[in-house]
């Protein structure tokens, strides 16, 4: 005997399976492209960005509240990431004012899924949009009032951008050792050496943007943004690999 499957259930099943398949396929694409070497024409990136905004004759710029950071090499670090290193898991609970961000892991016999769940003060759960791959680093501490605004986790690295209601922001980047970062040394308000989880870190403060960079000899870490130095350090200390 044959029967039609319930269409909503059927759609949901396909939706979930397609998403799982896409994650696996994407990982394979990155793996396949690992050794692919291609250098676009000079200025190609700028040309692409300009083509997306026909009104803009000027060179593309970062958003206003991020602009002080644009001198930091326009995310050149990201552009140069080429090596895939395994990231370790950081279970985390991050206080963020009304919202609490929590890194969740769900395990079944087939796979482990990591994602950020956000809960507000009424106990309402946010949906699961940040499916972090196994091994991703994550800042376990987030200053009060900040919420996760954007994140991107690829086999080449991880990026998290947090903002608060006053457009203060900070971001966390975890990159491979091949990454390169240009730092503007001009007119620094402060420069110091700090110790983060046993590693020497360089702290820079310039035009209200504070940044901290260090390496554990496996990855390069950067915490940067418009938050006080003490908070930068607390966030940095919270980025630790799973024991």
């Amino acid at each position: 005997m044959k029967k039609k499957i319930d269409s909503a259930k059927y759609d949901q099943l396909f939706r979930n399976a397609v998403r799982e398949a896409a994650v696996e396929k994407g990982a394979q694409l990155f793996e396949d492209a690992k050794d692919y070497d291609f250098e676009p024409s000079p200025g190609f990136q700028e040309k692409v960005m300009a083509s997306l905004d026909p009104k803009a004759k000027r060179k593309w710029q970062l958003p206003g509240f991020l602009r002080p950071q644009s001198t930091w090499g326009n995310a050149i670090g990201w552009a140069l990431i080429v090596l895939v290193l395994s990231f370790l898991i950081v279970p985390s609970i991050a206080s963020a004012g009304k919202w609490v961000s929590k890194l969740i892991s769900e395990e079944n016999p087939v796979f482990v899924r990591y994602f950020v769940e956000q809960t507000n003060e009424d106990g309402e759960n946010e949906n699961v949009i940040y499916e972090l791959p196994e091994g991703a680093y994550f800042p376990a501490y987030v200053p009060e009032g900040f919420r996760l605004y954007q994140n991107d986790v690829t086999p080449f690295g991880a990026y998290y951008l947090f903002i608060d209601d006053n457009e203060n922001y900070f971001d966390v980047r975890i990159m491979s050792l091949n990454a390169g970062i240009n730092i503007n040394n001009e007119k620094l308000d402060e420069k110091s050496v700090e110790i983060i989880n046993g590693y020497e870190a360089d702290y820079y403060s310039r035009e209200g943007t504070n940044s901290l960079l260090w390496t554990d000899n496996k990855h390069i870490f950067e915490v940067s943004g418009r938050i006080p130095k003490a908070e930068i350090l607390k966030v940095a200390h919270s980025i630790i690999p799973k024991p």
């Binding site: 994650v23 696996e24 676009p40 990136q45 949009i129």
Partner: protein
């Protein structure tokens, strides 16, 4: 408001979107060039494809924002591939001034999805279905991704893939049916292996 809803709203400023697209360039352009190069050997042609792909990406930012990491990579590569195939078709049309709708008409003529055996309905699991999906043809994988990964409607998929709306429906139906056939075959094979 759910975070996904927040990201679905078009409340991102132009600069937010530029930042997002720029991040896509930085993180995914290598994959995009690799895919474009597969179709076009010349560097300039590959760059044109990547640039056209970014225009498509830019049009679907609100939906693409819901993806990240590997699933975003998968979708972006599929956009590049479609763009490249479109371009090849255009080049051929320019040369021959003939464009055959044979494939599309053929798909339009296909019947709707067949019934699924009850036993299979009860035994469908995501992980098994995922394995079956990964064995589908690229064409079928891509239309399922557009439907279920980006939640595009038929009209949006038709525009994105440059096919007729009727073809979208029939191709989706064929893709799902094919996935279930693979699924069923794998189950049969497993049972046979167990018995032997």
């Amino acid at each position: 408001m759910k975070l996904r809803d927040h990201f679905s709203k078009s409340d991102f400023s132009v600069e937010d979107n530029r930042e997002f697209v720029n991040n896509i360039y930085v993180n995914y352009s290598k994959l995009m060039f690799k895919c474009a190069h597969h179709f076009f050997e010349k560097k300039e042609d590959a760059e044109d494809i990547v640039q056209l792909s970014f225009i498509k990406i830019n049009k679907n930012l609100n939906k693409i924002r819901q993806l990240n990491g590997n699933s975003l990579a998968s979708y972006i590569v599929s956009i590049v591939k479609h763009t490249a195939i479109d371009q090849i078709r255009r080049n051929q049309r320019d040369r021959q001034d003939v464009f055959s709708d044979f494939d599309e008409n053929f798909e339009d003529s296909l019947t709707d999805e067949t019934d699924i055996e009850e036993a299979l309905v009860d035994r469908l699991t995501e992980s098994r279905l995922k394995r079956a999906l990964l064995k589908l043809s690229d064409e079928h994988q891509e239309i399922l991704e557009a439907k279920y990964l980006l939640d595009m409607n038929d009209a949006e998929i038709a525009e994105e893939m440059n096919i007729k709306r009727g073809t979208v429906r029939s191709r989706l139906s064929r893709a799902r049916q094919k996935a279930l056939e693979i699924y069923l075959q794998e189950m049969k094979d497993e049972e046979e292996n167990r018995l032997s």
